[in-house]
């Protein structure tokens, strides 16, 4: 029998184990070769594993609807549905999970603020935030890079976009904890109800921000959306503004936290690559892309077939729910040479699909890349001798859609 405690990579899946991490890479490598599009009984989804097929689905939004992107994988308990309804949670399909033509209208308004110009303008403030987070680690010997570093930082950056320059760290933690569990985890009843209460609290917080910005407009996302509404109420409604404000934290927090965790985990596991970065921090952008490729924070993204479709030679019925394995597509040997090697100098690392592709392509991608670049530069320069604590369990998150270490213990060796 396989001893999973000493040799996790020998975990041999005969079928898809959506919540597990160890064994995923090997499983998908086998599937890409043997059965690149398959139906998974356990989840009830069609799973697509090759990069070309994944890109073809992303590129065809009229035949592959995004409407199921935020659907819970297991239905919410009726008590939770009732609670959210009573509390006035008006979360409608607004952007990531809505289709054309509505998506085009929303995206246009959102993109006129969430864009590279706004991100670049805030670069000095973001750099300061990263530097402050690095400074907080100094002198601490052994730290958990997830809890002590990667967890709060992306949320602070997002609150900057919402016009909240300083936010109580504990509040972030309460909101974020198990939020993804509500839709993609295998949390129990009480955990789901608790997630619901946190979600409601954040929904109301967004409502309060919007009410405030109506009176005191600033240079931030909600104010900008409100200005668009004032100019043309047809372009965006007040409810849509609350949904977009709410959605930014959902979209940009855990994802970026996991990107930091995954990339640092791979970098520290490969001493040569780490030393190369330490010696030349200008290599950081290459490591950012390779980190996103080899360790995508979003491992699975969903679509639904609007009509009968053929993908990778397999015919899927109308309405078929589809999971695209971004983690698998990013390691497709037809596109990436030696896909399992982690190489900061890989020339086509940018061709990953970690931010999706096409009309829904991640609006925060330039921001996430900027944060990651600053993190790699500043961490490698501050703690060049940092090492992973041997044999410490990364405690991979048990969620289907997003993936990252729950813990990353390192010795700073200052």
């Amino acid at each position: 029998m396989t001893d999973l405690t000493t040799c996790p990579h020998s975990a041999d899946w005969s079928e898809f184990r959506p919540f597990e991490h160890d064994g995923m890479t090997e499983f998908f490598a086998r599937k890409r070769a043997e059965e690149p599009v398959f139906f998974d009984e356990g989840t009830g989804y069609w799973i697509v594993t090759r990069r070309d097929d994944v890109r073809a689905i992303f590129a065809d939004p009229d035949r592959f609807s995004a409407s199921n992107v935020h659907d819970p994988l297991t239905p919410f308990p009726p008590e939770l549905v009732e609670y959210l309804k009573q509390e006035g949670f008006r979360r409608d399909k607004t952007q990531a999970n809505c289709d054309r033509p509505k998506h085009t209208r929303i995206r246009q308004v959102a993109q006129s603020f969430l864009n590279i110009r706004q991100f670049k303008t805030r670069e000095p403030q973001i750099r300061e935030m990263v530097a402050a987070a690095v400074d907080k680690l100094r002198g601490r010997g052994r730290v958990d890079l997830v809890d002590d570093f990667a967890y709060e930082l992306p949320a602070r950056v997002l609150f900057l976009l919402l016009g909240v320059p300083d936010i109580d760290a504990r509040r972030i933690k309460t909101w974020a904890d198990s939020r993804f569990n509500m839709i993609s985890g295998d949390a129990d009843f009480e955990a789901k109800m608790e997630a619901g209460r946190q979600v409601m609290d954040f929904w109301n917080y967004c409502g309060a921000i919007i009410a405030d910005r109506q009176k005191n407009p600033g240079d931030d996302y909600p104010s900008h959306l409100l200005a668009a509404h004032a100019k043309d109420p047809e372009s965006i409604s007040l409810d849509e503004i609350q949904n977009l404000t709410f959605g930014v934290l959902l979209a940009g927090h855990e994802t970026t936290t996991n990107a930091i965790g995954n990339t640092m985990h791979m970098l520290l596991q490969d001493r040569d690559e780490w030393n190369r970065l330490v010696a030349d921090p200008s290599l950081a952008p290459g490591y950012v892309e390779e980190g996103l490729r080899a360790g995508p924070p979003v491992v699975i993204w969903r679509r639904r077939a609007v009509e009968e479709v053929t993908i990778g030679g397999v015919t899927l019925p109308e309405g078929a729910p589809i999971m695209m394995s971004l983690a698998s597509a990013n390691r497709d040997e037809d596109h990436f040479a030696c896909p399992h090697a982690f190489e900061g100098t890989r020339s086509n690392a940018r061709d990953h699909v970690s931010f999706g592709y096409g009309i829904h392509f991640c609006m925060g991608a330039p921001l996430a890349k900027l944060e990651l670049k600053l993190v790699l530069e500043l961490l490698s320069q501050a703690f060049p001798n940092m090492t992973l604590v041997p044999d410490s369990d990364p405690d991979w998150q048990r969620t289907i859609l997003v993936r990252g270490p729950g813990r990353l213990l390192v010795d700073l060796n200052e």
Binding site: Q111, K120, D351, G358, C362, P366
Partner: protein, 105 residues
């Protein structure tokens, strides 16, 4: 269908047939033009479909949106007077004969 010409990063010149209604980027990548990564798939986010317009059509090209200008200015190091993101231009009859130079790897 119209004819468009692309000068690839290697210097090779390629004439392609582009279907009306698609974007210039889609037509070029479908025809296998080298150097257009189109990382974001046409969402005006990545600037990896950046080309220079070497020979513009008589009627000129459609105006740039502010978003296209921002992405070019902030994402691409080589923005020039003639720069365009080809995913933001739809293939139309009066673009026939336009020559683009690919700014890519």
């Amino acid at each position: 269908m119209i004819k468009l010409t692309f000068i690839e990063p290697s210097g090779t010149s390629r004439q392609i047939d582009a279907a009306l209604g698609t974007s210039i980027m889609q037509a070029a990548t479908a025809a296998g033009v080298q150097g257009i990564a189109a990382e974001c798939g046409g969402a005006c986010m990545c600037a990896t479909c950046h080309c220079l317009v070497v020979e513009a059509p008589a009627a000129g090209l459609p105006e740039m949106t502010e978003t296209e200008r921002d992405v070019l200015e902030f994402t691409s190091e080589e923005m020039q007077e003639t720069s365009r993101l080809t995913c933001q231009i739809a293939v139309a009859e009066d673009l026939a004969g336009t020559v683009f130079k690919v700014v890519g790897r």
